[in-house]
């Protein structure tokens, strides 16, 4: 079974802090994704990585950056956290080469910015 893990289930930070959210997958997937989930808005893609050191902006990248130094790990960085970044953050991964793109999700990190 694919396993995607995230470093924290719950996180509380203060406005202006630098925040790191870590995601690790154990299935050698090339593609990794960061989403945020807010009530009534579904999942919105923040950033996407299709290979080590490669990244692509998603639909809402403002205020975020990412890092992928190793294939199994994809980090989401909030350079200066703001209250409007309070949300549930979900990491996902998928393999390249299949005819479909079923994504496998981590347990999520609920971030509160005070």
């Amino acid at each position: 079974d694919v396993k995607v893990t995230q470093s924290s289930r719950y996180l509380v930070k203060r406005t202006g802090e630098k925040v790191f959210l870590e995601c690790v997958q154990d299935m050698d997937h090339e593609n990794m994704f960061w989403y945020r989930q807010d009530p009534g808005l579904g999942l919105r893609l923040i950033y996407f990585s299709y290979d080590v050191k490669m990244k692509e902006k998603g639909d809402i990248p403002e205020g975020y950056s990412v890092s992928r130094e190793k294939k199994e790990r994809f980090s989401l960085i909030l350079e200066s956290a703001s209250t409007n970044q309070t949300s549930m953050y979900l990491c996902a991964s998928t393999v390249t080469g299949l005819s479909y793109n079923e994504q496998f999700f981590g347990p999520g990190t609920r971030l509160t910015v005070l």
């Binding site: 579904g42 999942l43 996407f48 998603g58 979900l90 005819s99 479909y100 793109n101 999700f105």
Partner: protein, 111 residues
């Protein structure tokens, strides 16, 4: 613009009855995904539909895909409390590994 629209957004079900969730999407796609999310938990893959006319069933859930109508349905048969969750549909973005998700349908099953 690629859109994925689910309806209804909220569904109160009575145990034992049948219901359908609809997923409409803009632009043609042969692939459609259904996920389930329990409160406070992550998304779990339910079905991957890969062609027009595809039908998949697991327990009381059955998903189908009509690519010509750009419509997928998730049918729930004889609802039970364990099916209370939020259900998302998603489709591929053209020539891409990314998915576009609907807003989700929150299902509550009552006795």
């Amino acid at each position: 613009e690629l859109k994925v629209e689910q309806n209804p957004l909220f569904l109160s079900m009575q145990e034992g009855k049948n219901y359908t969730i609809y997923c409409n999407y803009s632009t043609t796609s042969d692939r459609l995904y259904w996920y389930r999310q329990d409160p406070g938990k992550s998304l779990e893959s339910l079905f991957v539909l890969l062609s027009n006319g595809a039908v998949k069933q697991e327990g009381r859930l059955m998903a189908s895909l009509d690519t010509k109508a750009r419509l997928s349905t998730l049918h729930i048969t004889a609802a039970v409390h364990d099916l209370s969750a939020t259900y998302f549909c998603a489709r591929d973005r053209p020539n891409d590994y990314k998915l576009s998700f609907g807003a989700g349908t929150t299902v509550t099953v009552r006795a």
